[in-house]
Symmetry: C2
Subunit: 217 residues, 2 copies
């Protein structure tokens, strides 16, 4: 069994590879993601290699083994199930769930995960619209178009966010946006890509960076 810290490194690697459609990641990249020093990450990566969770050669790029990816996916599944529980059953808001789920995802009990899944009626996505891997560790490949790619005059539906940090989520709420909301792209400035959008009758101006973090269908 892995420690919480080891699980966090695998989860980081899953985000940096599988989820971002790359195959490999570097030591510094992982260290930056987890907010530790490269030397620290290097130590841990050695241990995870020993445990056959990841694959890499000295000075080379790092990728996950099947074993590592399965384990990381299980942690991701737990994270997203707990987020759903907090949001749906305990009245947590969208931007509060992540922090607590970061703790809950490390609870070790297969029965707990399965029963939680059942209790929540086998949800497909978490409150952020992200896909919840099933008990076999499978994740249906999702959508992947950002608001920034939508043409002027078109309407789309928000299904997820890419950035899960509280400041971003709070800003999303301020603009009046939420999962499954319809977004109409009114116009776009060509010189800086500033967009005017309309959500539930409310008009707002959003930046290119903001639009790139809103996933739509």
């Amino acid at each position: 069994m892995l420690s919480s810290t080891e699980e966090n490194y695998l989860k980081a690697l899953l985000h940096l590879t599988f989820i971002s459609e790359k195959e490999e990641a570097g030591t510094n990249e992982i260290a930056a993601y987890l907010d530790v020093k490269p030397a620290t990450a290097n130590d841990m990566l050695k241990r995870l290699k020993e445990k056959k969770m990841i694959k890499y050669e000295k000075y080379g790029k790092i990728s996950m083994s099947d074993k590592g990816r399965i384990l990381a996916t299980e942690v991701l599944r737990k994270h997203r199930l707990w987020e759903t529980f907090l949001y749906e059953k305990l009245e947590f808001t969208w931007d509060e769930v992540h922090e607590v789920a970061e703790q809950l995802e490390h609870i070790q009990s297969h029965k707990l995960v399965d029963k939680l899944d059942q209790f929540l009626n086998y949800p497909k996505t978490d409150p952020h619209g992200d896909v919840i891997p099933n008990a076999k560790g499978e994740m249906r490949a999702p959508f992947k178009k950002t608001l920034a790619e939508i043409e002027s005059g078109k309407t789309c539906k928000m299904v997820a966010v890419k950035d899960n940090t509280a400041p971003f989520l709070q800003y999303v709420v301020k603009v009046g946006l939420g999962i499954n909301n319809k977004i109409k792209v009114i116009s776009r400035q060509s010189y800086d890509s500033l967009m005017e959008i309309e959500v539930n009758g409310k008009k707002s101006h959003v930046s290119q960076k903001f639009a790139e973090n809103i996933l739509v269908l």
Copy 2:
């Protein structure tokens, strides 16, 4: 904020003092309870004294400070709320809840505890019949009579167990016992206190030791 390990030492001390109606505990006693060596417990007790969580003099008995007792009671509250959740909402059995609750009790989030309490409709006792401290850390003093003290021919109602280990709980189930079951004491051997009891029409013979771990009303 304390580590999970520190919280576990305080919880142990709460069990060994407040709950068992003693005032103080010894280093070896605490070490045995937590299944670590006395030297290990000694190190930790020094740290908890530094942090003003416990009170003791070198070579003397250990008692809790108000601060320590409040903190330990909060952990106990979380433990028992999670046990209730697992039992009532996730269909865990009586003897499965403890192990998982041991992990869940260390999740840090006041909102989580309060919302969980609300979600469970402010339960008074956990699945073992033990009182759940309220949000202020108050525990109504309960019952406290054991099956061993019941006279022949009398009937009583089981409200809790003293021993929460899986082997004991499994044995309890085997005898057909559960919370709120009526128990009739049929007879008692005077020379070794072996008791014959009847639960839901089923008769069993139980030892003095067993009877001392069943709390009744």
